[in-house]
Amino acid sequence: MANTATVDELGHSPEVRGKNYLNQTAGVWSWLTTVDHKRIGIMYLVSVLVGFGLGGIFALLVRLELLTAKKTIMDASQYNQAFTLHGAAMVFLFIIPSIPASLGNFFLPLMIGAKDVAFPRLNLLSLYLYWIGAIFMLAAIVTGGVDTGWTFYVPYASGVSTTSVISATFGVFVMGFSSILTGLNFIVTLHKLRAPGMSWYRMPLFLWSLYATSIIQVLATPVLGITLLLLIFERAFHIGIFDPTLGGDPVLFQHFFWFYSHPAVYIMILPGMGVATEILATNSQRRVFGYKAIAFSSVAIALVSFLVWGHHMFVSGQSELSSAIFSFLTFFVAIPSGVKMFNWLGTLWGGSIRFTVPMLYGIAFLFLFGIGGLTGLFLGMLSVDLHLHDTYFVVAHFHYVMMGSTAIAFFGGLHHWWPKMTGKMYDEKLARVGFALTFIGFNWTFFTQFILGTRGMPRRYYNYLDQYQPLHAFSTYGSWVLGLGFLITFICLARSLKTGAPAPANPWDSATLEWQTQSPPITENFEKAPIVTLDAYERPAEETA
């Protein structure tokens, strides 16, 4: 049986026994100069988790400040920096690179039976660019902070703010190249390095989602780069692109910014959808229902994502006709998202469902993405958006999508692939406690904010009306439960590195290729290049009988 497979049963020869990508070579230098996609993936994983921790601390500080209607622990300018850094760290340091650069880097080659990505050195360069960008962002924090909001809206960011806007935006600019290079690498790898027999339709659906994500990364990120560069020039040399006192147009900045940043929302969510698909398929023990529908809906979301940026700007002063067109197109994001949802349910139907820790995250993903997706319909409606725009309703909605869906899928994926990456099993009981607190704390914190938003509470407010205080306090209490949940999860995973039992090759009895090598894998991934004879998620005949 696959779930008890040992190294011997995988047919590894005695020479590779006991060797893996972690112990092949040793020392910091061997890591810093590695071109192994697995080691790069691990370094990305550690980096994005640090980014998540940083963003999380700022999040808890923001919530703590909002415990009371006036000053609680910090003054207004510190608060403005805290929410800006929360947003910037979570978006640029954590969520955009999170799944693709860590789990994607590690598993994309394994899942197609390849030895590495197409351009291993470029892969390492992309990690270094991420680090350099992150250093600029951290430098901004210590040299005066940033208080513009993660959106860097002009003319505040170009002419008024006295904080380190240039350092922060330059950091984001550099990290953009990291994102482009990763996307490019994945596209070429998927086209050129699939194992014999691994046709496009035999690829695990996670890879379709990464493919769609990569297309967006390559096509949209340059626009962000140009925009931020213009912003830097405007701030430093007063060139007059966006600032009306110099002859510029502040609404133009919003068009440029959202032309990237809306597709970027799908850079964030598509990989999460892909991870959820893997978890649901593995733990239902059956082939994914509607494989092609899920695959093409990823591509459809990627394409539609380029046509809906204006829905961030319904009240910005853009033309009424533009708003109407953008609203109409926005609703078509709902269709492929709905198709995915239905097919995930179809995958559970008639399956043999195990409630492993990753599966709990997978089911939580369906629940939270359901809420996150459906509440998007409110904001797509022109008239309703007039009331809800820039209120806590929007905050709640995108946290349900970004955190409730993507971050939950990321942590699900982390638990799913942890045994493969580290060769260790974690304490399932403790992991369940961590999950439960995260799930409860998340809904506690953010569902409350839907109510705050419809009642008119604006975003990014340091002081607020007394009448909103009870709900704000309630939301803050939830954030403590949420923080505790993540803390327990981190402790659980960290502990497993020391005390965890050795992981078998395929602990979840999964049908995809990355489980057909030892845990952790050898540097070359597979001792013999695999030949694929089965469809995606299909099991050998004797096993399904």
């Binding site: 609203s327 109409f328 008639g350 797509g380 009331h387 009642r455």
Partner: protein
Amino acid sequence: MRLDPIELGSFWMPKQSSTIAQEIDTAWYIVYWLDVVMFVGLMVPLAYFMYRYKRRTAKDKVSDVTHSTTLEITWTIIPSIMVIGLFFVGLSGWMKAMVAPGNALEIRTTAEMYMWTFTYPNGNVSVNELVVPKGQPVKLIMSSKDVLHSFFVPEFRVKQDVVPGTYTTVWFEATENRDTILFCTEYCGVGHSDMMARVRVMEKADYDTWQETGLMPGEKPLPPAELGKKLYATRSCNTCHSLDGSRIQGPTFKGVFGRTEQIADGTSVKVDENYIRESLLEPNKKVVSGYPAVMPTYKGLLKETDIDALIAYLKTVQ
């Protein structure tokens, strides 16, 4: 500023205090109930499958159905029709919110870090207080002096960004004879969350009286010195002129009336009714020596009665 809270009309929404609020709320409830039905429609099967298909043995028989074209088409087309319907529901209310009636009262609105200034058709000005008549469409012609701001009145369900270098407009017709709150909803800096204003809705007759006399409904005319004291605070005299003899931007008001001041050009002047009047209307004509000539003119911003009141008040500051 003391503001009354926003009153709730339901669990979710503030009271409906404008003519378009009801249509926007109806649209909100349509998508709300649709979402509730769809969410339950997704979660009930999810819960049922979790129960029904929970693994019993390692050899559970699993379904080998991998797709259904009929189902795929069904769950593509039905949601498509639903969301197109939602689009039109949203469009309809929004078109009404975008097009102001021709007879709307136009109020020029200026946003800056961190205050709202409203200029009415007869030249009257109010700061951080928007006064509008009930039952008449009001159209705001808005612009910003510095960064982006946004005009949001939750009870009216209207929102529009205020942009430097261009005009944006918003309109509403208030239906409730009561005060409510205006928020700035585009992040604009350190004072963003304090950039609120009171919206005072009153009967048309009361509005006309206020325009003419500055008196709110039920308000008796103040004695000149008291009105002057109020103006000293509300028209920002106090940001430059102290009452206790300390120097801020301009000369202190302590004992100002009757004092003889050295003027920058070398002459001197005794502070009397005419000098105060002149300094309000043409402040840079006779600047007291040693002070910067930075005071803005109040020409057109103060009524005759206001000037009289300020003079009366300054006589009392000793």
